[in-house]
């Protein structure tokens, strides 16, 4: 070890990052989702590589090759269900992680780059999952790909060329499947690269904590191992219990029945819906049903959908509040939970057909979503009177409990201590 350390300080890097690294002592279970995300990236890559050994990226046999995995490959059904449900759980974790960041002001100085890297990972994840969903070559795979790539034609001048580049032709077919498989294999490793940068940036700036007060002395922190390791480990296993429950008992609950019908370019399904984790964005896309000046409704929808993610990049500068943690911002706390409700509401609308009252509701939800970031965040920071901040993390902790046992909070509730 010492021999290696003197030549390439990899052991020291590991030791400094995952053993001695100081973490705030008051982190709650909302802070365990970073580790869970890393675990799930690993799960997706491992199951994906084994699936790729049996999968055939050819539109004539792709569907059957997935069925061969399900029926004839040893434990193939488990691999495939792990991979398909793993993508969903990856997104559950990333959504909790993002909302945790929004709640505790993790995006504020000096962590802007950390936050931006996170949004890039999120974008890459969406691209990866979208292309992965095309691979089994079912009806939803095919028609989902047709609809989503169709958006790109909304852009003036370059739109058609972008779409043809993505598809490798004029419509979704074998060429599309091949390039999607290639990219679906590539992107997770790009994600892994960005994750390394993300963790690096994290270890430069240090973690936030539920009080939002920066670490002031070594009394405020505990060493990563054993404290954070065991807590993260426990949270991971609890999350895995939920994951296993879905894989073994409800493996098709999150999927769509139509994807068990082989792709058929001549037969459009009655409802084309994306995977659940895209539903809020799908709702925003369809919320724009009218032209705005030179922008027709289609382009408007696409801009709004991309804008909903782009806006996240600017959150560090949109929030004007000096207070980091929402725990000390009584008014913002209310708006935060309204935003969460709004996103769930949009998700529900995304699963509904675009008829009747639904587009109008989706428009209202979309306006609120942007209103939160573009109006509430800047204005509230200026007008709100925050609660008094504790002098230090240790002071807050000691005020809360004079030592002793730890109450256990629900894993997903950001304001319970664990």
């Amino acid at each position: 070890m010492q021999w290696l350390d003197a030549r390439l300080p990899l052991p020291r890097l590991m030791y400094d990052s995952f053993v001695a690294y100081p973490v705030p002592r008051n982190l709650n279970y909302a802070y365990t989702f970073g580790g869970i995300l890393a675990l799930f990236l690993g799960v997706q890559i491992l199951t994906g590589i084994v699936l790729a050994m049996h999968y055939a990226a050819n539109s004539a046999i792709a569907f059957d090759s997935v069925e061969k995995i399900m029926r004839d490959v040893n434990w193939g059904w488990m691999l495939r269900y792990m991979h398909a449900n793993g993508a969903s759980f990856f997104f559950i974790a990333v959504y909790v992680h993002i909302f945790r960041g929004l709640y505790y002001g993790s995006y504020k100085a000096p962590r802007e780059i950390l936050w931006i890297l996170g949004v890039i990972i999120f974008l890459l994840m969406m691209a990866t999952a979208f292309m992965g969903y095309v691979l089994p070559w079912g009806q939803m795979s095919f028609w989902g790909a047709t609809v989503i790539t169709g958006f790109f034609t909304a852009f003036p001048l370059i739109g058609d060329s972008i779409q043809q580049l993505l598809l490798g032709g004029f419509a979704v077919d074998n060429a599309t499947l091949n390039r999607f498989f290639s990219l679906h294999y590539l992107l997770p490793f790009m994600i892994a690269g960005v994750v390394i940068l993300h963790v690096w940036a994290l270890h430069v700036a240090g973690q936030t904590n539920p009080t939002g007060v920066e670490v002031k002395s070594s009394k405020d922190t505990v060493p990563f191992t054993p404290h954070a390791t065991i807590k993260d480990g426990f949270a991971m296993v609890v999350f895995l219990i939920l994951f296993a429950y879905m894989i073994f008992y409800l493996p098709n609950y999150l999927g769509h029945a139509d994807n068990y019908i082989e792709a058929n370019p001549l037969k459009t399904p009655s409802h084309i819906v994306p995977e659940w984790y895209f539903l809020p964005f799908y709702a925003m896309l369809r919320a724009i049903t009218f032209n705005i000046g030179p922008i027709d409704s289609k382009l408007g929808g696409v801009l709004v959908m991309f804008g909903s993610i782009i806006v996240l990049f600017f959150v560090p500068w949109l929030d004007t509040s000096r207070i980091r943690s929402t725990a000390f911002r009584p008014m913002y706390k209310i708006f935060f939970w309204i935003l969460v409700a709004d996103c769930i509401f949009l998700g529900w609308l995304g699963s509904k057909p675009a008829e009747g009252i639904y587009p109008a509701l989706a428009l209202a939800g979309t306006i609120y979503y942007f209103g939160h970031f573009l109006i509430v965040l800047p204005v509230l920071g200026l007008v709100e009177t925050p609660r008094r901040l504790p002098g230090s993390i240790t002071e807050a902790v000691l005020a809360k409990n004079g030592g002793g046992g730890a109450p256990v909070g629900a894993a997903a509730a950001p304001d319970t201590k664990g």
Partner: protein, 311 residues
């Protein structure tokens, strides 16, 4: 640190003796499968109507009834006798129109048949093979590794023979149909582990014929289709009533009714679509126990690690 390590070790050791769960219960009788001629019934009650128009009602018109299936729930397993009856119904009735191209004869061993029975079953089918050394295609009796042949040479021929709608392949049909559950039922399904929408739908469809369509629906029904309020994508489908009471003989004394036939063939189709279902649930039980115990141990260790640190 020491406690931590020993806890990990203990958890690892606990998992070992549990091993891998046995796949499924073998409660089937080895009744051999009889060969009978195809007996597809043609339904006479044809409802003629004008071309549909105006606003379309929501399909299916009626939601399927939820039945209790042996393979539902956390300890779900196959009822082997039922699968054998379902196979008989498929073979004698449905296979006249529906193929099952992803299921091989060898898979029938899961239904409690031994190798010799499977071989005999396969040999009743004629499979086109080739080309041989002379470049000719030839017919030969089926062998265990062959797949169920499709009754029509291609989907176009299948559609042409059935009023323009090709009968779908059975291999995945039980997973490819699910009537929307709606809010809040879909949330309850998370806890009741409801995954039987497919077989419930098929049963409802098969028992849902021969009803009188309401007047506003009757106008929408096209020539050559048959009214069925349970059909998921319209008021009527191109399949005539496929089966009648007493059409298939059951050697095990189960009632020879349309309802029973429908239950049996639906269960069989679920098996065809998800042959590893019982194994999956049995494995899941072991995994869940392991994870819950592991989480418990980690929690105890976590408490000890953090004991002296208020947080």
């Amino acid at each position: 640190m020491k406690t931590l390590l020993s806890a990990f070790l203990a958890a690892g050791l606990m998992a070992m003796p549990l091993g891998i769960a046995s796949a499924q219960e073998n409660q089937g009788s080895g009744a051999s499968v009889e060969a009978n001629s195809d007996a597809a019934t043609e339904d006479a009650g044809e409802i003629a109507a004008e071309e549909g128009h105006s606003e379309s009602p929501h399909y299916p018109l009626k939601k399927p009834e939820e039945l209790s299936w042996s393979f539902a729930g956390p300890f779900g397993h196959w009822d082997i006798a039922q699968l054998q009856r379902g196979l008989k119904v498929y073979k004698e009735v449905c296979s006249a129109c529906h193929g099952m191209r992803l299921v091989a004869f060898r898979n029938l061993e899961d239904l409690g048949y031994n190798e010799a029975q499977v071989k005999a079953f396969a040999a009743e089918y004629t499979i086109q093979d080739g080309p041989n050394a002379d470049g000719e295609m030839f017919d030969r009796p089926g062998i265990a590794s062959d797949y169920f042949p499709s009754p029509f040479p291609n989907p176009e021929a299948a559609a042409a023979a059935n009023n323009g709608a090709a009968p779908p392949d059975f291999s995945l049909l039980a997973k490819a149909r699910a009537v929307e559950r709606g809010f809040p039922t879909f949330l309850f399904d998370l806890f009741s582990q409801y995954q039987e929408a497919g077989p419930d739908y098929i049963h409802a469809l098969l028992t849902g014929y021969d009803q009188e369509p309401p007047a506003e629906i009757a106008d929408l029904i096209q020539d050559g289709t048959y009214y069925n309020p349970y059909f998921i994508s319209g008021p009527a489908l191109a399949m005539p009533t496929p089966i009648a009471d007493d059409q298939v003989e059951y050697p095990d004394g189960a009632p020879q009714t349309v309802d029973q036939y429908s239950r049996d063939v639906s269960a069989f189709m679920m098996w065809a679509a998800e042959p590893h279902l019982a194994e999956r649930k049995a494995t899941g039980f072991v995994v869940m126990i392991f994870l819950v115990v592991f989480a418990g141990l980690l929690f105890v260790v976590k408490r000890r690690v953090w004991a002296g640190t208020p947080h």
